[in-house]
Amino acid sequence: MPVLEVRKMSHNFGGLRAVNGYHLEIDAGQIRGLIGPNGAGKTTIFNLISGVYAPAEGEVSLNGRKVNGLPPHRIAAMGISRTFQNLLLWRHMTVVEHVKMAHYSRIRYGLAGAFFGTRKRHREEAEIEEKALGLLEMMGIRHLAGQVVLNLPYGAQRRVEMARALATEPRVLLLDEPTAGMNPEELVRIMEIIRRAHDELGLAILLIEHRLKVVMELCERIQTLNFGEVIAEGTPEEIRNDPKVIDAYLGKESLI
């Protein structure tokens, strides 16, 4: 059974059919790519899967359990985590606080712990912090743990987002253009991190990516989206040679 299954998902914004009959099946340990020109509906698909919008039609299920219709925090707690195309960080919080926050739904000390600072709370906060620092280590930004995110370089902010998304301990990870705005050096780093996250945690990863080099290298299968519809699906090799893809997408940006 696939970890994440999306069936016949469609959504409209006013008169605009942003997503039309989208299908997806990912198994644990697979990396899938989602490409397409700007405005094709890629981010909207992420928003629908993660519950930001409830899909107008279709069904999203995680390990066979229907999740569409649930509020986003519930879906996140059930195991679908994501990053955002345009970095959504919390401007007044430090790096380690970002990662700790992702444990919210699993906190056991409750309100008594929050108000009275019980021993249980201190123990649990220390555990969360330890895990968070471990993830920051894996991302190579442990030395930035105490910094407020606002002052960090772009690449580091991207990695904070990634660490935070992993800290929810997801089974499915949705990455929305994780290399946007990065220089080649940072690009290599982030690809390495995605691979490590995949190898060490065995996640199912769905990757939206603009740079074809990245998707072609990381993904086993790729979907191409245009005007909200999947126009081609296959291995990187098949996608590269599909005339429809070249027409809709690759043609415009010339094979980078």
């Binding site: 996140a76 994501r82 401007r91 309100l111 929050a114 108000f115 600072g117 929810t168």
Partner: protein
């Protein structure tokens, strides 16, 4: 433009004084005042000991301002200056020693020390004790509002309403059970029991305020959007007119004769409890979720944070402490009427929150203390007080839009640590 070397070394000296050194200095000053304050005041030509560092004299008798300054210098300035400078080495050793104890014990020692200073200072006259108690209550009131308007980043106007609920609930409890009154009949319980039951009265007041908060929170936090400001304002008016029209609590005439239970140690203890629990809350991951929701709700939800639960909990918690503050307030003044909890009270507490600094425990303490003292100092100017305080607020908003000490977490270890000098890493 560097200051002269002598001045720099003079200033550098102070940066080596740890907190405990300042406390010693303050203790010396207040003890001195307690012992020789009267004669000293007479010697510098003041009719009596200035109650609030001379602030209270300045507007009433401007001619005495130099005398008041001299008094403050002699009683507070010089002894504190001398004691702190002379004790740098032992004070730093003591600070280091105290930090080796468990942090709860260390904090306890500092709090007791602080209380002793307050106690000696307030013993000089009743007015001081009253101002101190009201200032402590203002701290609770301000800090709890900061949870909503600062940490949560919403705009709530109902805080005086929560305070009113706490004040009336605690008053009805204590008057009804422990005092012979015309309106509630004879006392049902022996007054000797009173002080032990006082916490129950306050807690009931806090719980009633939290229940009131639920009425505001349910519709406000149901959907996204800024409904809170308007719903909470409506709530404030409803509470006020409800009390005004409730003959059971004597309407606009108010309730008087509350037992004298809110003495300085009681108010101080509750204030410490309030600061402690609110600080616990806002530094926990559950509390930090407020900041996450405020700074970016979509990201917070994607990280499993439940917006509605987070906001509800914080709102009710804040209202609870406003209710406790209200109960104490009623028993400090031993009189409440609905007029106290109107727009003016709202303006005052908003000024304290925004002046002191959003999202900061230190900020709320500074805001509450400075606006309370300023309010007392400006009392002779009556209505002008309400021109000067807003003007000051506007200035702060222009130069520091989030307030004096915004977005700063309390770090007790840093607060208590020994100081090595101006160049140290912070």
């Amino acid at each position: 433009m560097a200051p002269p070397t002598t001045f720099r070394t003079f200033r550098a000296g102070w940066s080596r004084v740890p907190l405990i050194g300042w406390l010693f200095g303050a203790l010396l000053a207040v003890t001195l005042e307690r012992l020789v304050g009267g004669p000293l005041a007479a010697a510098v030509g003041l009719p009596k000991i200035p109650a609030l560092f001379g602030l209270d004299i300045m507007l009433k008798k401007p001619l005495l301002i130099p005398n008041a300054f001299l008094y403050v210098l002699l009683v507070y300035g010089l002894p504190m200056g001398f004691a702190t400078r002379a004790s740098i080495a032992p004070a730093n050793r003591l600070a280091a020693g105290l930090l080796r104890l468990p942090i709860t014990v260390t904090t306890f020692v500092y709090i007791v020390f602080l209380y002793v200073i307050f106690h000696v200072w307030a013993e000089v006259n009743d007015y001081r004790a009253l101002v101190l108690k009201l200032t402590l209550i203002a701290i609770m009131f301000t800090l709890s509002l900061n949870v909503i308007n600062g940490y949560m980043g919403e705009f709530s106007c109902s805080h005086p309403g929560f305070m009113a609920l706490g004040a009336y609930c605690a008053s009805v409890f204590s008057l009804g059970l422990f005092v012979d009154t015309r309106f509630f009949g004879t006392a049902l319980l022996p007054p000797a029991l009173g002080p032990f039951v006082f916490p129950v009265a306050l807690l009931l007041g806090g719980l009633l305020a939290a229940a009131g908060a639920l009425i505001v929170a349910v519709p406000s936090f149901r959907t996204r959007g800024d409904y809170l400001a308007i719903i909470s304002l409506a709530f404030l008016f409803i509470v006020k007119s409800l009390i005004e029209n409730l003959e059971y609590v004597r309407g606009p005439r108010g309730l008087s004769g509350q037992p004298d239970w809110a003495n300085l140690p009681t108010v101080f203890l509750w204030t410490v409890a309030c600061i402690w629990s609110i600080n616990n809350f806002v530094t926990s991951t559950i509390g930090k979720a407020l900041n996450a929701v405020r700074d970016n709700e979509m990201a917070a939800n994607a990280m499993t944070v439940d917006t509605r639960r987070t906001k509800m909990v914080a709102f009710l918690f804040a209202a609870f402490w406003a209710g406790i503050a209200g109960g104490l307030f009623a028993h400090v003044l031993r009189y409440v009427n609905p007029g106290t909890f109107g727009i003016q009270s709202l303006a005052e507490v908003l000024a304290m929150v925004y002046f002191g600094g959003l999202n900061s425990v230190y900020g709320s303490i500074v805001g509450a203390v400075s606006i309370s003292l300023l309010g007392e100092a400006l009392r002779p100017l009556e209505i002008f007080k309400w021109i000067i305080i807003p003007l000051l607020l506007i200035l702060v908003m222009i130069y520091r839009p989030t307030g004096l000490i915004a977005f700063k977490d309390v770090d007790v270890t840093a607060l208590f640590r020994p100081r090595t000098g101006p160049d140290e890493e912070v």
